[in-house]
Symmetry: C2
Subunit: 406 residues, 2 copies
């Protein structure tokens, strides 16, 4: 596996673009498009929020098509809690692209991100369609990644190349999302995290769904910025087969190579989201090992990663690891408090439930000054482990989110 | 029911005190005592955190005694994650009081609050015991309420008087806690919310446990400051029978009068905690009505009350009610999105899942400037409802918690 620069247009046959449609009050780019020159199979994972946004509903419906060729995305408006008007407008977005690019509406997927409960200015989108479509290009991945951003401070793109047989398969991705991040996505049959992955792999729709599900579970579904689950979280992957690899139709070596690449890419993109979390100054990794079950390990890692108190002390560079203990203990998993160890980086803070001998607070404080902070909890009950990622919690987070809708 | 000034020494026969033992680095009062002049029955509700603190373990054990006469409390150190040394020291705290006041150790309950993972300076406690004990008085309720504070900005006390038959029963309470507040306490067989309630009611231990369980479920177990559950949450009630009412031994009219008073007191104390939440500028009440079950109503109300995004926009006085929708939808309860209404005070924002006709954002913005903000979600699915309380989320919260242990 090798890592190269680029984004969603790195795989063969993918074009993209991002333009200004006037949805965002800031006047920045807010409408984006990915287009595959040939038919592609598609899998997607969406939010499990009961109030799923209109684009989520429309995309779930369109996923029934065998093939897809385009994904249209707007930022600046979530098109959520807009009732039937919202559903109609989300369908219109797909319809505009279908009409302009000579596709079936079902071959077009839709995603939105931005404020909830505001009518989508769909006529502005309609007016921007000609320039959006005519401008798609092999070099448009960056414009795409830019146009899907909301409070993100950096573009988030990643590309891996995997050798499968004699072919090189490229997987490219772009994502956005730095607030309302606590995804719990389920493949197609479910941030505002938006992630778009393209690949020229030749893989069946069924195996692509399986690969996406596995990759999302260990990446996006393990990150948190604020513990708030969005109504719009969507992760979509398109595979157009242009790499010419032996077709992947079942589990096996080729599939393992592909999912290895996909997981790596998804994890790197997920970490970019946590690192760029609203107001964040640090990336925090929480590993829970020795759990009695995988679900226990995941639950504890996620619970610790959403502790506001822990995130505040990481912002303050104060190694107050008692908050790790409290959060872990409140996760409802099987724990023997007298066996638990807690490590801050390589520094053992808690040993068998009590302060570790030789624990040096000043050393821990120095470690907390690093940009990447790792915390490990060893439960010593079983062989299961899980890793979650989050960021610290700063005053800027409050500032960003106290005036978002104004 | 009438409300009078005072705290834990308002009911007949209760004395209290609060002194400086040198546990807090600030040098403020940090050791407190409640004493009943006659034997009292006691019920208590403790944290369900797996890492329960040593005082919680000791108090659970001591609750096996039929009667109790004293509760000793320290602030500034949680005595949690201290292993056997912590357990021994918590027992020593009860032992010192028992010895000095000629009680059995099992007749003394213990509670602690403060930082986790620091050895308890029990010799300082031992040195302060004589002045703590000799100073107990009928006017010591205020000193008690002060000595249990950590980052609290105000003392939290409340007293109600209930007429039961020809007798007047007084219930007094004091509590503390403004951070690491997301209690889920279970009666005796489980903050850092600490709450101490005294009453001169004549009531059996069994009925007192039942009353406390009911009162805690609708009050303390419905508040949140930061969604972080403590290892030390404890709510204790002592009833010494000096009111001379007809003894309450079973459910019935007298019990209903008593629990009515207890619930009112517990709710008012719980609201004081939410209002004084770390960095808080507002009290926020979340009501979920029309739920299919009580557990659905409670779960949705608590989920909305822990939304960092919602709490930030309430701090910013920005009526971004889409965050109510997102949080409600992520609670996992039964919802029909197309039937949900959301009210901001009396202002209807969402009607049947879409923006309410005539919704006036400026009016909503004006409402959000009030000190008490009420949000109501009507699910229109059933007849169950629940109310949760929280506070807004300010930059000061981050400031307070980024440097707590230093």
């Amino acid at each position: 596996m090798i890592i190269v620069k680029g984004g969603v247009t790195a795989p063969r046959g993918f074009l993209a673009n991002g333009v200004k449609a006037g949805i965002k009050e800031s006047g920045k780019k807010d409408l984006a498009l990915i287009y595959s020159e040939v038919q592609a199979v598609c899998a997607a994972s969406f939010t499990t929020n009961s109030f799923s946004a209109s684009p989520v509903k429309v995309s779930k419906d369109h996923l029934k098509s065998r093939f897809h060729q385009a994904i249209i995305v707007n930022s600046g408006n979530a098109n959520c809690a807009n009732g039937r008007d919202g559903d109609k407008k989300a369908a219109l977005m797909a319809g505009y692209i279908a009409q302009t690019m000579a596709l079936e509406p079902g071959e077009v997927l839709v995603a939105s991100t931005g404020i909830i409960g505001r009518p989508l200015p769909v006529s502005r989108i309609e007016r921007a369609i000609p320039s959006l479509v005519s401008g798609v290009s092999r070099s448009g991945g960056g414009a795409f990644a830019e146009a899907i951003m909301t409070t993100d401070t950096v573009r988030k793109e990643f590309v891996v190349k995997v050798k499968i047989g004699h072919s090189t398969v490229t997987i490219g991705g772009a994502c956005k999302g730095v607030g309302m991040i606590y995804p719990e996505m389920k493949v197609a049959r479910h941030a505002t995290l938006l992630c778009f992955i393209t690949t020229d792999a030749d893989i069946s729709k069924k195996m692509l769904e399986k690969a996406l599900s596995g990759a999302v579970e260990e990446s996006f579904n393990m990150i948190s910025v604020d513990g708030d689950m969005s109504t719009n979280d969507s992760c979509m992957v398109m595979a157009n087969g242009l790499a010419g690899n032996r077709p992947i139709r079942r589990a096996g070596h080729d599939y393992d190579l592909f999912i290895g690449g996909l997981k790596y890419l998804a994890t790197e993109l997920a970490k970019m989201i946590a690192r760029d979390g609203e107001g964040a100054t640090k990336l925090v990794e929480i590993e829970v090992s020795g759990a009695a079950s995988l679900s226990d390990a995941r639950r504890a890692a996620r619970k610790i990663s959403t502790s506001n108190l822990l995130k505040c002390c990481i912002f303050g560079e104060d190694p107050n690891w008692g908050r790790v203990v409290a959060a872990c203990g409140s996760s409802g998993i099987r724990i023997d408090p007298d066996r638990v160890d807690v490590f801050l980086g390589e520094i053992k803070a808690l040993s068998n439930g009590t302060i570790a001998k030789g624990y040096d607070k000043e050393k821990a404080r120095k470690y907390f000054r690093e940009k990447d902070v790792k915390i490990r909890v060893s439960l010593k009950l079983g062989r299961h482990s899980a890793v979650a990622w989050t960021c610290d919690f700063s005053k800027e987070y409050v500032e960003i989110n106290s005036e978002y809708s104004t």
